[in-house]
Symmetry: C2
Amino acid sequence: MLTKMESEQRIARLQQELKAKGIDGALFIYPIDVYYFSGTRQNSTLWIPAQGSPRLFARKSYLRARGESLIEDTRPFPSGKEFPGNFGAEVKRIGFTFDVAPVQQYNYYAKLLPGRDFVDISSINREIRSVKSAWEVGKLKSSGARLCDVFRAVPEFLKEGMREVDLSAEFEYRLRKAGGEGYVRMRAFNQELFQGLAVSSATAGNPGFFDGAVTGEGMSSASPHGASAAQIGADTPVLIDYTGVFNGYIVDMTRIFVIGKLAPELEHAFATALAIQQYLVDNLKPGAVCEELFLKAAEMAEAAGLAQNFMGAPGENARFVGHGVGLELDEFPVLAQGFKVALQVGQTIAIEPKFVLPGHGVIGIENTFAVSSRGGVKITDLPDDIVYL
Amino acid sequence: MLTKMESEQRIARLQQELKAKGIDGALFIYPIDVYYFSGTRQNSTLWIPAQGSPRLFARKSYLRARGESLIEDTRPFPSGKEFPGNFGAEVKRIGFTFDVAPVQQYNYYAKLLPGRDFVDISSINREIRSVKSAWEVGKLKSSGARLCDVFRAVPEFLKEGMREVDLSAEFEYRLRKAGGEGYVRMRAFNQELFQGLAVSSATAGNPGFFDGAVTGEGMSSASPHGASAAQIGADTPVLIDYTGVFNGYIVDMTRIFVIGKLAPELEHAFATALAIQQYLVDNLKPGAVCEELFLKAAEMAEAAGLAQNFMGAPGENARFVGHGVGLELDEFPVLAQGFKVALQVGQTIAIEPKFVLPGHGVIGIENTFAVSSRGGVKITDLPDDIVYL
């Protein structure tokens, strides 16, 4: 349950940004955006003026929204005739999230509020969300502890000859028993994720639509992501990359398990991943520039002779090494080429140096960290070592 | 794996609609729309001219898209400079799915193709998709058989005192072991579903954001849907409403389980749900009007003294009794007020008369059927009876 103070601080930060940009208010319609500011994810529209008190219009369920919402003025969604009366003549520029709002929704609100300029506040919204309060970091730590417990149990259920999807089933079962909410929110238009990846076979390094180093084969071309029906063999890395979602807060981590032993090439790649992670953790401080962190990581991969294998199969390498996590899996900031902004205290980032070695397998590490003045604080607090069975 | 013939027939049906509406072609960017016509769900953009051959532009992964796509002309996504060259001067009106395309995507393509009119083809797209071929009905039947197997196993793992989320974990585990893909696609802007609902407690009848009769409490206000941490008791209906996703095709069904016995009010409501289902199945024939089917169902609920309880908690009643299913959970048609269209052979519809009796519980039935000239053909082929344990 979101606290009143959290909600107020978030709204204050937004209002400051709106004022600085000369925007008269923000109209939020995307469920997780509404939740972030109000504490309810009911089907609602949230108006936050640059100055003054916000107002929540709840469609379904109004009753439940009233119980959950921290916005004092929470009311049923008005008729189309009454809706415009909620916006004074001083409201000329309305912020709207163009990144997630479908054209039909935009047209609907633009028609309800004629004569107003709708401006894109997608970046403002994501930047505010990227910086977590101590309360939020606490929630993420709690998600991390529960996800780590499931990773700790893997040796109990990982067996040679089981299918990747069997391993996923065992992992997901324990995650759900731990209270996992399961549904993983992603903001990018064409991304989908069902909880995570358990991949090990020759297909683990297949390229795919997913904006990450590893996609997996999936169960069909309709769901071409994650575990497949391929059997897990010995002497090959089993990569388990899973999210844990609790109270809406998502953490993301990866560990490698091996039944038997690994080829030296894979051990070398893993050691390189750890070294890259260590460099990034040491530098996960306010002021560090995202792009520079990525470029340094890529440089380390190259120095290890693994440039072609870094963050994807050769020729399909992703140009990033970490991504923000929080209420969505793909939050700001991104440690990526072209991301020239500086880190801020309280940002929470999944760092995931990984290598795809065709014919050998996929290997790497991933942990979620919080940016602090002393470097990254580990949120997924479990040893990084490969677990040999 | 989609077949070439399926893909060609779908494209031909779309082209016929485009020509009839004077639209020069359709530009698809939403993953499942691209998949429906092309057989690949890689991150791609699909151009289907009203006349002539379609072209698939694949962003990520092009390699994988090339292997999966049934569109002969599958190529890497061109540069912004080269993209417009793919559209001749005769292309003036471009169909686009305004229901799911975010404003940023719309602006991106509108800028790439200046001087063209973008028109909303959301309804055309959904209407075409709503009518399934024999091949698709076969896929849905296969999904139905696998989901029924999991329902059949419920008496093995449903125990008094377990939490709703434990029941969900057991159900989802078996679904995944059966090869379930897990990720449930929904088209409506603000809907989310993590596989299904296992609800039984006093909170089962809570209202919520979900566009259905039952939402459940969920694990937190950030994920206010589905199973909660409440314990399952005796002498109360345990409602299990789950989807099964295999090869992308979703079926939807509900059964009631009871540890002990039920109050007569609940047995009466269940008998009414069965009677409504029977009426609808008998009339699930081409030409039947969706709204009329809903109104007749509501009338039967009223005649049974259950008008206030039909399809939701009193005061929060949803005005529908069934919805199309296929590659998305919320396909056309909808057996709902305002939906004045006639059924067509091959449409596949989840029929779900349910009743919320505050203080008593939630009860009802749901099965997926295909429309045929002899009435609904059951796709989720399992007895409807309440299972008493």
